[in-house]
């Protein structure tokens, strides 16, 4: 079994759920999360240009958009982007299918499309019946 953790755009959630349903894996957990990627938030590009060369913080860090935003009380919105985190447990052979399905629906080609992580799960138990492992997730 594998756990598939996908961080996607908020407005793509209904489409993603539909796509997963069509693939035959409708069970999932959804969480509202905030986060950021390599670009360090949404407004990073604009802020990088505004940032003066001499800008240095008291915390002895390299000047970054976040520290700059902090110092100048720019809107917090610049630091984190709200996303939806989907988490689902699937049998090994279904992983490739699900991953490609999520990518197909969520791909816009622009930054901020999100990430998918696949990690191993050792055991699963269905609480109602006590079934274990593969039976519990099918």
């Amino acid at each position: 079994m594998k756990e598939i953790t996908a961080i996607i755009r908020r407005d793509k959630l209904p489409e993603t759920k539909k796509a997963l349903e069509d693939l035959g894996y409708p069970s999932l957990t959804i969480q509202s999360v905030e986060g950021r990627g390599k670009q360090r938030g949404a407004m990073c590009a604009e802020m990088d240009e505004e940032m003066p060369e001499s800008f240095c913080t008291a915390v002895k860090l390299k000047p970054t958009p976040s520290t700059y935003a902090l110092e100048h009380t720019l809107p917090k919105v610049a630091l984190y982007v709200p996303k939806r985190l989907l988490s689902m447990i699937a049998p090994d052979e279904a992983v490739e299918n699900i991953v490609q399905g999520i990518i197909r629906v969520n791909k816009t080609g622009k930054r901020g499309d999100g990430k998918i992580f696949v990690s191993p799960i050792e055991s699963a138990i269905r609480i109602r019946t006590g079934e274990e492992d593969e039976k519990a997730v099918s």
Partner: protein, 105 residues
């Protein structure tokens, strides 16, 4: 690759995030969570707090960077008192960037 899940004090979040960014790890996901540890919550006078607010910081990094990231997180969020939090490391087999569809971090 490893997934790092750190449960830290909410008030330390900003400090930790800035330190991580300074160390070259800007990407992370944060989730506000409630939980308790082996102290079974917190007793303040007659009031018992069963679940305490924490911030869960989730990030996926290369194997070689794990120790560095743990050092940064624990260095910044340590106060020495009960309730500093925990860090959990778990394996990640693959990671995909949806924008390109490639299997790279």
């Amino acid at each position: 690759m490893k997934m790092i899940r750190a449960f830290i004090r909410p008030e330390k979040e900003q400090e930790v995030v800035l330190a991580l960014e300074g160390a070259g790890f800007p990407s992370l996901t944060k989730i506000p969570v409630f939980g308790r540890g082996k102290q079974k919550g917190l007793q303040v006078g007659p009031v018992h707090y069963d679940e305490l607010p924490k911030t869960l910081i989730m990030m996926v990094v290369d194997d070689k960077d794990v120790q560095l990231v743990i050092g940064v997180i624990s260095g910044k969020s340590k106060t020495g008192f009960i309730g500093d939090g925990k860090i959990f490391i778990s394996p990640v087999e693959a990671s995909y960037t949806i924008r390109t569809g490639e299997a790279v971090l």
